[in-house]
Each structure stands twice: as structure tokens, then as C-alpha cells.
């Protein structure tokens, strides 16, 4: 088998992994990327205030790491006892929900 080819193949593979981790790091540290992800445009003033609070939040997040959570299952919802189902029966919504057509800027797919 072509050795050079194999090295090339493997390098590409490793590079991809590297790229993914790099991207993640940047996103987490940068508030402008959080804005992009949350689709919220901040003013400069807001950005400063939120950045300060986020820094505080992240230190606060260390608290639960002090807890011994070995053998503990996380809780997402506090109480439920049984499956909750709806029967497959039609219920038409009688009101017109939207006043007109829903139009957005042209989307290129």
C-alpha cells in the first residue's frame, strides 16, 4: 500500500479533530460568538455588562463540582408517575391563527 497516501489520509483525519476542538474553544470564550448562536445583537454597553456577569456566573458554576456526585443520577424533571398521552383525535383550531402570509427575506438553500 502507498505509504505516503496513508500518512496523508491519517493527517487529514487528525486535522479535522484539531479543527473541531479549536472552534469550540473560541466560541466558548468569545461573547460575540454567543451572540451569534443566540441570535441576539448586543450594544457595546450591554456587551460589557453581560461579559462581567458571565465571568461571575462561570466561577459560581464551580460550586456543584464540590459535591460528591458519584452514583447520582441527574434530575431533569422532579415528579412524574406515568406516561402522559393524548389520543390520536383531531381537534381543529377554530380561529385563524395568523392574520396574513408569513414572509421572510429570501432564503438561499
Amino acid at each position: 500500500m502507498d505509504a505516503l497516501f496513508l500518512i496523508n489520509f491519517a493527517l487529514k483525519h487528525i486535522y479535522d479533530i484539531f479543527l473541531t476542538t479549536k472552534v469550540l474553544e473560541v466560541i466558548i470564550l468569545d461573547i460575540t460568538n454567543l451572540e451569534k448562536l443566540a441570535k441576539i445583537r448586543l450594544t457595546e454597553e450591554e456587551r460589557k455588562e453581560i461579559e462581567k456577569d458571565l465571568a461571575y456566573f462561570t466561577t459560581m458554576l464551580e460550586d456543584p463540582f464540590k459535591a460528591d456526585t458519584s452514583n447520582v443520577q441527574g434530575t431533569t424533571i422532579v415528579s412524574h408517575t406515568e406516561n402522559v398521552y393524548r389520543d390520536d383525535l383531531v381537534e381543529d383550531f377554530e380561529d385563524l391563527l395568523f392574520d396574513g402570509e408569513i414572509i421572510v427575506p429570501r432564503i438561499v438553500e
Binding site: F5, L6, N8, K12, I77, L97, R106, I107
Partner: protein, 465 residues
């Protein structure tokens, strides 16, 4: 260098329910935009989802049909992303704990693994115009299952085979109508190529939303060759999403593949987790209809059908049900199958509705078996029955369509034909064996198609000596 393709399929299938996954809006295709919408599926403030039991049952059925483990505990998660057709800003799906896992489909001796089947909601639809895009939420909230195969597929042919089997199982379990033209079955393909013998994957491309099984096969074939060519030239393919163009039979770049780690997932705490008991699963298992494979075995064993027959009849659930109904009333089910496939299927229109009662097919078939009529009469009868229903035996009597089984009667017709067509008789005797066929045709015409073909053949041979 030897290469090996590694192919995985992600198939989305809309479930055949009356209503949407989380609200009572109709699950219907082709209605006026935004008329099948309520506050819940439009993502209005404060509304909450209510899970459709039938959707869960159908997903379990799919899981059983595809040999999956049905998980006792599963849960709904939110896949967060922004798109105008996604009203809540997230899709409610099952990410961490899917309903079904670890199944397989047998594609003629080889098992293609199924990693998972999860239940989720469909998004709305975008309708693009030159300068703007319209959003239609009628499809928003329609129940889907996503069936994710393991990367066990090695070629386009195998992919098509897998899809065919998958479609059959989903059709026969009543899970979905699998109409690719209406989007109730949608196929995404992941393709990568690696040197044979290596265990890690090469660069992966995803081909989205392919329109048919044949195109899937073609697209995969094209993509494999493209990858190999790149490698051979010292290049590597990009990790990206591509689309298949049916006209040029090539794939084209759509966009760089999103990093899936950037999708934001979160357990949905508006819904409670699912806790499916063994009893519930058994209840569904008991009611499972026969799957295509089981039916095929039965057809072969009980009725002597061929692979070709089975494949044709098992294309659609109502074909199979039709055949089974007719077979019950038939003296020779294999003959009924032949009539169904060669005669009736050629009459089908695009809606694929069979306009003849199974009883009538059996009646026609039985008259053939009893040598009362011959096959050309059978064909005429079926064409007639397609237009209107009637009692076959009476009709045959009234119109004197009986097959001519009497040796002397048939001999008279043959003699007459030979006299009138001396040249053909001479041709035959000079060694032109084809002439026999011509004479057969002439006699048939004289009898208005009623001659017993076997008897006719024997007599003709005798007379031509």
C-alpha cells in the same frame, strides 16, 4: 490500491397518524398553507406539547419490524437552532435516549445494522420566490421517525436494497405511507471511502434529501468514485453536505458540514419521559401484521410463487392483501398471481387502485384452471371487469366464451385454416418452424380466442405431421 466505501443512511419517515405529534391538528398533505395550525404547533407563547399515543405506538411498531430493542426509558430533547420553518426555535426530538436501538435489516443474507430509531417532529415548509420566502406551518409538528443505519453499507446497490426492504417493512406495519414524492420518506446518505483494511473513516460527505431509491444508488456510486479519484490524485474530499442533481447525475457542494457538537441539545422538561412497559410492547407485538419477508415465505411455500411474483405483489400493502384475498378463493393461487401481475397490474393508473374485486380475479382464474376458458379470454374478461363488475360465470355462459376443448370441433377450425392458408402450411413443411405460430394465431382468431391452447398445439402438430 483497494478501496472500501463506508455508507450510512438516515431515513426520515412521516408517521401515518390522524393528528400531529404534540397537538390535535390534522396530519395531512397538500392543504392550503397555514390552515392546519394551532397555537401549539405554531410555537405560541406558553403553549405546551401533548404527546400523541398513536405516534409512539407506530414508532414501536417500526422498532419491532426492524428487529430493534425497544427501550423502557426514553426521553424527548430539544435540538436548538434557528430557521424560519421551526416555530419554537428548537425541534423536539430524542437525542440522548431514543425509543429504539440496535436493530437490523437483512438484505439477502447480509445484516445492515440499525443504530437507532427516534421519534421527532417535522418542521414547516419554505416556499421560495424570487425576492422572498413564504413559510407554511401545516407540516410543523407532523410526527416523524428517523431511522439511522450503522455504516455497514458498502455500495449504492446495497443502499437501494436496504431502502427497498425498509420501505416494505414500514408499509406493511402501517407505520408510514412512504411516499417520496410527498416527502413522507426522505433519505440522507453519508459516504466515505477508505483504503480497504483500515478501521477509521475517511472524509465524510453527506448527500441530503435524495428523491428516489434509484437516485440514491446513483448518487452513492458517483460519490464513491469522486472520493477515490481525489485520493488517487493526492487530494482528500471535504467534509461537507452535497446535493445530487438527477439530470447531470453528479453531486454538488451545498455547504460545509455543520459541526454537530455545535448543535445545542437540552432535555425537554415540558414533557415527561417515556416509560414503556414489557406488557405494552407485547400488546403491540401481538398485533403486528405479517412483514413482507414472512409473507414472501408464505407465498412461496403455500402458493408456489416465484421471487419475481413476490417482489411484485409485495410492492404495496393493498396488492398483498388483494392477492391473499383472491388466493383464498382460488383453486390455483399461482395462476391468480400470474393474472394479477401480468394482466391486472398493466391496467393500474397512478393511484394504484385495483378496480376489480378479488373474488372476480379468483372466478376468472378458476375458470382457467378448470379449462373452461383460456388465457386470452381471461385477459379480455379482466379488462371488461376493470370497467364494470359482473358475475364471471354467467357472463362467460351468456357470451359463449367457453374454451373449445372438443377435438372434432377444433379440428374443423384447423382444417379450415389450413385450407385457406396453403402457403403458410407449405412454408412450415419446408422447415420454417415459425409458421406454426402464425397458424395458431389464425385458428385462435377463427375461434374468437376460445381454443384450448394445449389441444390446438397438439392437433396442429399432428395435422402438419
Amino acid at each position: 490500491m483497494k478501496y472500501e466505501a463506508v455508507i450510512g443512511l438516515e431515513v426520515h419517515v412521516e408517521l401515518k397518524t390522524n393528528t400531529k405529534l404534540f397537538c390535535g391538528c390534522r396530519n395531512e398533505f397538500g392543504k392550503k398553507p397555514n390552515t392546519l395550525v394551532c397555537p401549539v404547533c405554531a410555537g405560541m407563547p406558553g403553549t405546551l406539547p401533548r404527546l400523541n399515543k398513536e405516534a409512539v405506538n407506530l414508532a414501536i411498531k417500526a422498532g419491532i419490524g426492524l428487529n430493534c430493542k425497544i427501550n423502557k426509558f426514553s426521553r424527548f430533547d430539544r435540538k436548538n437552532y434557528y430557521y424560519p420553518d421551526l416555530p419554537k426555535g428548537y425541534q423536539t426530538t430524542q437525542y440522548e435516549m431514543p425509543l429504539c436501538t440496535d436493530g437490523y435489516i437483512d438484505i439477502g443474507g447480509r445484516k445492515i445494522g440499525i443504530e437507532r430509531i427516534h421519534l421527532e417532529e417535522d418542521a414547516g415548509k419554505l416556499i421560495h420566490e424570487e425576492d422572498k420566502t413564504f413559510v407554511d406551518f401545516n407540516r410543523s409538528g407532523v410526527p416523524l421517525i428517523e431511522i439511522v443505519s450503522r455504516p455497514d453499507i458498502r455500495s449504492g446497490e446495497e443502499a437501494a436494497l436496504y431502502l427497498k426492504k425498509l420501505r416494505g417493512i414500514l408499509l406493511f406495519t402501517g407505520v408510514s405511507d412512504c411516499k417520496m414524492n410527498e416527502g413522507s420518506m426522505r433519505v440522507d446518505v453519508n459516504v466515505s471511502v477508505r483504503p480497504k483494511g483500515l478501521s477509521f473513516f475517511g472524509a465524510k460527505t453527506e448527500i441530503k434529501n435524495i428523491n428516489s431509491f434509484q437516485y440514491t444508488q446513483e448518487a452513492i456510486g458517483y460519490e464513491i468514485n469522486r472520493h477515490i479519484e481525489l485520493y488517487e490524485n493526492g487530494k482528500t474530499p471535504e467534509n461537507e453536505t452535497r446535493r445530487y442533481d438527477e439530470k447531470s447525475k453528479k453531486t454538488y457542494t451545498m455547504r460545509a458540514k455543520e459541526d454537530s457538537s455545535l448543535y445545542m441539545y437540552l432535555p425537554d422538561t415540558e414533557l415527561v419521559p417515556l416509560d414503556i412497559s414489557e406488557e405494552e410492547i407485547d400488546e403491540i407485538r401481538k398485533k403486528m401484521p405479517l412483514l413482507p419477508e414472512e409473507r414472501e415465505k408464505m407465498y412461496v411455500k403455500e402458493h408456489g410463487l416465484s421471487d419475481f411474483d413476490c417482489e411484485n405483489i409485495l410492492q404495496e400493502v393493498h396488492f398483498a392483501e388483494y392477492f391473499e384475498e383472491a388466493a383464498k378463493l382460488s383453486k390455483d393461487a399461482k395462476n391468480s398471481a400470474n393474472l394479477l401481475i401480468t394482466q391486472i397490474f398493466s391496467l393500474l393508473e397512478s393511484d394504484k387502485v385495483i378496480k376489480i374485486k378479488p373474488l372476480r380475479l379468483a372466478e376468472v382464474s378458476n375458470l382457467m384452471t378448470d379449462e373452461v376458458i383460456n388465457s386470452s379470454t381471461a385477459k379480455k374478461l379482466l379488462e371488461k371487469l376493470w370497467e364494470e363488475d359482473f358475475d364471471v360465470e354467467n357472463y362467460v355462459k351468456e357470451n359463449k366464451l367457453f374454451q373449445i376443448n372438443e377435438k372434432d370441433v377444433l379440428s374443423r377450425y384447423i382444417d379450415e385454416a389450413m385450407e385457406e392458408n396453403q402457403k403458410i402450411v407449405d412454408d412450415y413443411r419446408k422447415g420454417k418452424k415459425k409458421a406454426l405460430k402464425a397458424l395458431t394465431g389464425i385458428v385462435m382468431a377463427k375461434t374468437r380466442g376460445r381454443a384450448n391452447p394445449r389441444l390446438l398445439n397438439t392437433l396442429l402438430n399432428e395435422k402438419l405431421g
